[in-house]
Symmetry: none
Subunit: 216 residues, 4 copies
DNA sequence: TATGAATGAGCGTTCATTCAT
DNA sequence: CATGAATGAACGCTCATTCAT
């Protein structure tokens, strides 16, 4: 969530340079992410990253201030991806929902989009879920708080509008929603859910969140 | 899950010595856990631990083979605590449940017990949830798998006995259950749930898992 | 006798780089040899070596895998020097000898060459004779065996060709030859033999080996 | 050659105590010698020694001031054994020799006695020849000097009395004698000479020293 | 701009020595 | 006297970072 902490030597100049620079930063942070995923943050040496990218160690320091900055950047990127996956679809808006069934569909939709993103960005998500909490507890706490608050607000609307139970502990259920989704994402990251399973899992999540497990 | 990897010189005999040894190991692993929690595993120096305990660095090596062993031991201990919290109560047995309401109660009970344990063992649980995944991904994966499998089996019984929905994706819901609980535990660990809130949260979890969020 | 166990990153290419690397390794191993000689292997800290060379400790690890590797390399080098001193002169070949006097001359020649080498490579030889046996007993045993076997074979030719006594215990005399030479080398290493004394000692060795001490 | 540097807490008392103390010191130094031989001085931990003896680590410090003192004592003991082996036999006196044959016999006798001692005190001799030079270069130099000087003096008598060559480089030959003997001792220590071989080797040494290798 | 050799602070671990029992 | 648990100084090695080319 924080702004990038570094930028190369200051290219006061053109959009071209900026673009090149942005591309380079992306490349490097992508490579770093892959290695952090494979070896863990603490066990990753700068040389591991530069080796994988086929560049010199020093080059990394031209685009990032250090190992920490690299991790910060990756977390930042991951957080943006998650938030985007939850918000980018115009269909996901509280005013588009007015029944329990629509609510379940929306949960299913968002869950599915998150699972797909996890499937496509496995390294990034693994770093975010496994390594970032240890390396940057505060950043992850911040993310968690944001997600929970946003989700709780989203649920509050449902209660107000009558399609969610009156008296629902929305904070607890917000945690539940994030927890349920995280658990599924973890399974995706462990390679245990193919595309079909991701779809059915998303539906199971939507149904479960809406109606619970008990036989009515 | 693995057996402790070290023990001091193995004094073949006396219960007294064994007891002293066990106490010493417990003390040290407790101190280490506290420091790992505060500083993270990678940032903790052996000297940090010995300083906090008021002992020499070398003493730690009389009871553990090294920093790794210390972490392994802590994880092992934490895993046992979690499994115990889920199983130790005789009331938690599938044959004690035959209705959806009983199911919800049981979920509430277990969730509450886990939240209480988290409240009492904050450092241990924080190390387990935040630092262990980065330091020992495999150990945590193993734990996750075990919990999910046990939970899914537990849900399967409910489906068979008719108090859970036919066709329930028990694996997905098992993940949901663990995810929901973990999310609440995380909140406990962030100091955001006092005793009262823990109780109501446990109930909210039980209700939610049983009946979902939607207004029937 | 073993090949050097490490080499810097292996820059697949340029003769220049390889050469620089080789020079650097030589420098470092030379400095290490000097310090090992002065303080003994066990008492030498890596920092002692890097300090003497005016480089950082880490630099040493770019060229050698560790303290052990450094010692191995030094021993290897020393062994090659000794073997070279014994073999490199074309005049030292069994087929160049057919009389006792020629035999004595040859012994004198080799002894002299070894004494000169010892005088020029005092640190290396002291490490090899004093510190290496304690640090690498097997490497030294191997060297000793090789020298003894080669020497015995050399003497066997002399017996066959009739200029050495029939029934000579060639193994015992081979040991004697190496022992005699080693004793003289040790004196060189203790600074007790100047160039003149080395020459006369070499002659004394040749005469003694050929004819013994007793008045004929 | 130096006096023992420590003594247990000062038992101002009886001969009995002194005797017990002496026995204990002997036991410990014997055990230490065995371990030094097996693992080398630098690689031997005090605990290795106390373990082998079945005593506590602290006990060693009641009889020796430390690891160094232990080594000093062992060297001292070894030096005394060597000197004794060379001198204790009344037959070995320069006035008992007046011919070259008697000289050869005497060399044979002393060599044999040294080889037998080496065979019986393998650990002690290995420590003295292999580990002591690295650990106590000065002590070994001192021993070497003493032996060489004594041997040279012995040879000088032979020259004066006419049974050794006039103009003999007695210092060089003294070195030769010690070198020859050491080489044979080394072979004994490597387990390559049984009792019979030791006898014939002693004779080979006597003959070689007296008459050399060349066919007269 | 890119490089990678050089650096040295920092840390896990060992083990000789001490001393309370 | 004997013990062995406790100690902490010491050291080999790693690796993030720098900077001359």
């Amino acid at each position: 969530m924080s702004a990038p902490k570094s930028s190369p030597k200051s290219n006061g100049a053109g959009a071209v340079d900026d673009d090149l620079t942005r591309r380079r930063r992306k490349e490097i942070s992508l490579g770093a992410c892959a290695v952090f995923d494979e070896r863990g943050y603490a066990n990753t040496r700068i040389a591991d990253i530069s080796d994988r990218l086929g560049i010199g160690q020093g080059t990394i320091y031209r685009y990032f201030t250090g190992k920490d900055d690299l991790m910060d950047h990756i977390i930042d990127h991951g957080v943006r991806r998650i938030l985007a996956a939850m918000r980018e679809d115009p269909a996901v808006a509280t005013d588009a929902v007015s029944t329990g069934a629509q609510f379940a569909d929306q949960i299913t939709t968002v869950a599915h989009r998150l699972l797909e993103m996890a499937a496509q960005e496995q390294a990034l998500m693994r770093v975010l879920l496994i390594h970032a909490p240890a390396a940057r507890p505060d950043a992850i706490d911040e993310l968690t708080d944001q997600l929970a608050a946003a989700t709780a607000a989203y649920l509050d609307v449902g209660v107000e509008n009558g399609y969610l139970r009156t008296g629902l502990n929305t904070m607890a259920v917000a945690d539940a929603l994030t927890g349920v989704t995280l658990a599924a994402i973890r399974r995706v990251l462990r390679g245990q859910l193919d595309a079909t399973a991701r779809e059915s899992t998303a539906h199971a999540i939507g149904d479960f969140v809406a109606s619970g497990a008990v036989n009515a």
